[in-house]
């Protein structure tokens, strides 16, 4: 994994796809290519009520990336200093081996330039001290980007809230 983490708080996500749009705008991509994508799961009946979740799927920036192993030209690379997996467009020949190799479909085909494009956590922006494009526009602030050790403790907080004694039990 890279030293960064892009956390999605699924409970806050409303599936507005703003992140996708901002990502594509930032990278200048045609409609087909989605370096990050919000996948809708559901709706299903949950306790008699319809529920849907929206799962944010960027690149996971694997420790041992399948795409990097599969790439025949060395275009797909893992940046040593922070572990970001990115693609060098000057080397890409568009053979799409990485697209088929990735177990999560992260590398995307950009038909406008005949090359692969993928989520690189907007590393040009990170190097300027900015956040990835998707994070900056998230309407419900469900996306958080930072170095892994500075991730918010949302899950623990929620679990603690659920487990904590309620007012009723206090009064009892």
């Amino acid at each position: 994994m890279s030293k960064y983490f892009l956390l999605q708080d699924q409970q806050k996500c409303i599936g507005c796809h703003s992140c996708e749009i901002q990502c594509k705008t930032n990278k200048g991509l045609p409609p087909e290519a989605r370096p990050c994508q919000v996948i809708q799961v559901g709706p299903e009946l949950f306790n008699g009520r319809p529920r849907a979740s929206f799962v944010f799927m960027p690149c996971f920036h694997c420790e041992n990336p399948w795409c990097v192993a599969a790439c025949p030209t060395g275009a797909m690379q893992r940046r040593e200093k922070d572990g970001i997996v990115f693609i060098d467009h000057d080397l890409c020949v568009g053979c799409k081996t990485c697209i088929s190799a990735c177990p999560w479909g992260a590398p995307q085909w950009n038909p406008a330039i005949g090359k692969v494009v993928k989520c690189d956590y907007c590393m040009d922006r990170i190097d300027q001290g900015l956040k990835p494009a998707c994070v900056t526009v998230c309407t419900t602030h469900c996306l958080t980007f930072n170095v892994t050790e500075k991730m918010p403790v949302i899950k623990r907080q929620r679990y603690a809230n659920a487990m904590a004694a309620t007012r009723e039990t206090w009064s009892a």
Binding site: G94, K96, S100, P103
Partner: protein
């Protein structure tokens, strides 16, 4: 009627008649493309150029379609000078209409320098190079036919249908057609490869050739981790790691319509 000389032979001709029309009547072949009997001459294709000689004057070149027959005219329809001018004219015409069979036919008939008819390939060898250097399939090679190089499939079955060649080709001379579960890669009218396409078990779209997926698996050899043996299309792979696949798949299908996916 007045006598005129054409290629050394004397003919009786009507003064004022267009020379090209007279030559056609006499069966003397002169190339032309823009002449029409019913219309005034435009002298635009410049193929009907002939040499004329009049008393007391030097040799001159004139367009036969526009020239009117007059007394004492001596016409030559073939010479080194004429050949050169017609070759220049036909080269200009081919720049405007490179695929025109009519122009190439005239070039052949009159032995003009037209070059071979263009086939869209600029002989950059990008397809050959990427196939042998990067993909390793060596499915394409250059072959000389009639003194000219052509990209041809090298040996039967070495193509894997990855489409990197069609992707890199700067002029789209090498291209592919997907029909049902068969992908065909073509250059000119030569088949480079025909391949079976794999169907995504979730969304049902054809997404890559079997041979290409084998190639990907070979590339991944030695990877320390394991992944699902079943191959889904890149889009459905996103949903696969979630359990509720049955719900994501129809949604994904509506996002992308029934268009073929990448990979």
């Amino acid at each position: 009627m007045i006598p005129i000389t054409i290629n050394g032979d004397v003919y009786e001709a009507l003064p004022g008649q267009r020379l090209l029309l007279f030559l056609m009547e006499k069966g003397i072949r002169v190339p032309h493309l823009c002449f029409h009997r019913a219309l005034t001459p435009a002298a635009s294709c410049k193929l009907c150029v002939v040499e004329i000689k009049e008393k007391g004057q030097a040799h001159q070149t004139r367009l036969a379609c526009a020239l009117k027959i007059r007394e004492g005219l001596a016409v030559t329809t073939e010479s080194a000078m004429i050949h050169q001018l017609r070759s220049a004219a036909i080269t200009d015409l081919l720049k405007l209409a490179p695929h025109s069979e009519a122009i190439h036919r005239i070039g052949r008939e009159f032995g003009l320098h037209t070059g071979a008819p263009p086939d869209g390939c600029i002989r950059c060898r990008l397809c050959i190079r990427v196939c042998s250097e990067i993909i390793g399939a060596r499915a394409l090679t250059m072959e000389k036919k009639n003194g000219r190089n052509f990209v041809v499939p090298s040996e039967k079955g070495s193509c894997i249908g990855c489409l990197t060649c069609t992707n890199l080709c700067p002029t789209q001379a090498i291209y592919f057609v997907d029909e049902g579960d068969v992908r065909t890669i073509m250059i000119r009218d030569t088949v480079v490869g025909r391949h079976k396409l794999e169907k995504c078990p979730i969304c049902g779209r054809m997404f890559a050739t079997t041979r290409f997926l084998d190639h990907v698996r070979r590339r991944e050899d030695g990877h320390p981790e394991e992944k699902a043996a079943l191959q889904y299309c890149p889009t459905c792979s996103k949903g696969y790691y979630r359990k509720n696949l049955a719900h994501t798949a129809p949604k994904l299908a509506t996002i992308y319509g029934n268009k073929a996916v990448q990979g």
